[in-house]
Amino acid sequence: MAGAPSLSQPSGWRAWLLSPEPGSRWQARLGRFYLGWRSFTRNPLAVMGLGVVVLLILVAIFADFIAPYSPVIGGDLRTQRLLPPSETYWFGTDDQARDIFSRVIYGSRITLWVIVLVALIATPIGLLVGTVAGYLGGWVDTVLMRITDIFLAFPRLILALAFVAALGPGIENAVIAIAITSWPPYARIARAETLTIRNSDFIAAVKLQGASTPRIILGHVVPLCLSSLIVRVTLDMAGIILTAAGLGFLGLGAQPPMPEWGAMVATGRNYLIDQWWVAAMPGLAIFVVSLGFNLLGDGLRDVLDPKAAK
């Protein structure tokens, strides 16, 4: 692939992808995706981030095969408690004589589940509230944005605490609490984007074809808000993981014996000085995954939302 870029002829499938005159809807879409992928891969940190996220997903799927021990049933409490990392227990064991490595592996499922649920709940709510408010304007805008402001005025963790306190502790309630507290910034972003496009000629043009308001919002406004939102959600994932871990740490998220990373750090706190691995290993997992999402988000921003990159 060396040589002057203008001279190197792209090989078969790349020529097909980069064709200036795509022959089908799919070719056009794939070509676009491929161009994005190319500029994404030029950022090594972003690729690393993607690697971490893919690893998280794989580990979560294949936890049963990877984890050598059960995450909840411990070994002999007399001989296998709080063992340091070794060849048999890679990350050591905790106070219940459970293998920390297996717990971290299974914990990835909980983390992934939290992330997916929060993304699936918060993003559509934020997107819908923001685009509807921005597009319709007037009193709809005022009402929706005041509600958003109210949610935005509380620190996320505090509000999540209040929700969990009201709904009762548990991982589902923690997820709902986090989702409810994380949509307002998305609504603001979506609204800001919508404001800049709602008066443009291409929106006027679909109006002139008789398109209904839902059709305009869903088919024409949302796609333009989506990319900056995806970037923001990805960057937020680190914060969401930390909030979930924080709730777990405070005993309001996942309940024992679930191998939730935050809760694991909390138990490790008691042995921090002498048995550091109990808290450090899940802490490391939280750190790596958060960092991965952050790097991925940065890379996505360069590809999807070039104007925000500066």
Partner: protein, 259 residues
Amino acid sequence: MLDIQNLQVIFGTGRLQVQAVKNASFHVEAGESYGLVGESGSGKSTVLRAICGLAPISGGHVRVDGKEVTTPRGKAFYRTIQMVFQDPYASLHPRHTVDRTLSEPLAIHGVKDAETRILQALREVGLGPSFRFRYPHQLSGGQRQRIAIARALILRPKVLLLDEPTSALDASVQAEVLNLLEDLRHKMGLTYILVSHDLAVVAHLCQRLLVMRNGESIEETTSAALRSGQASNSYTQSLIEASQGFSRDAPQPASSLAT
């Protein structure tokens, strides 16, 4: 075909209230091509936008085929009247392929044979099927304007409202688009209302035209009169003079002489 009487458009409230169109009347026959010229900000675009429902009608009448338009406009209205915007860079959705842009109106109106209609629409504006799956950023200004025209024509309207369709295009592309518009009008028997600040463009496409200033129609005249330099109104006269080009020692325009 289209009958506008004492049209008024008011925007805003309070201190920002403005009568963008104070009083405009004209009548366009079916198959005719009618021009709107006049000062910047005089309400030409607003007249077009009021006709197709993008701006409020505050007074007067807009009749299409003898029938008063309703607010909001029905789907049948949009199958009769379509509009082409001035800026080809702003009037196409940046994330939609040409195919999506053209199939949207067909989907909204439940037209069956979308496939053939899209290919036909592309052919009509002189673009091949190879353009079908391109994104706007893969098109030049002139090609974009052709797509915008194709989108307006795909529902087979009878009237096309053209808001400065060539002012963002360079001389050679302007000639291509003007030829295309003239061709299409003859082939499909379309009615045009053309807004342009270039008198030569209006004279090229239209037989009759209306001169507007500050929200009011001040004179209806013909291209022939423009070409021969005759105008009863002093503003029209100054427009004709100004279109000869810039001259350093030209007299100050009518507006400042009037006081």
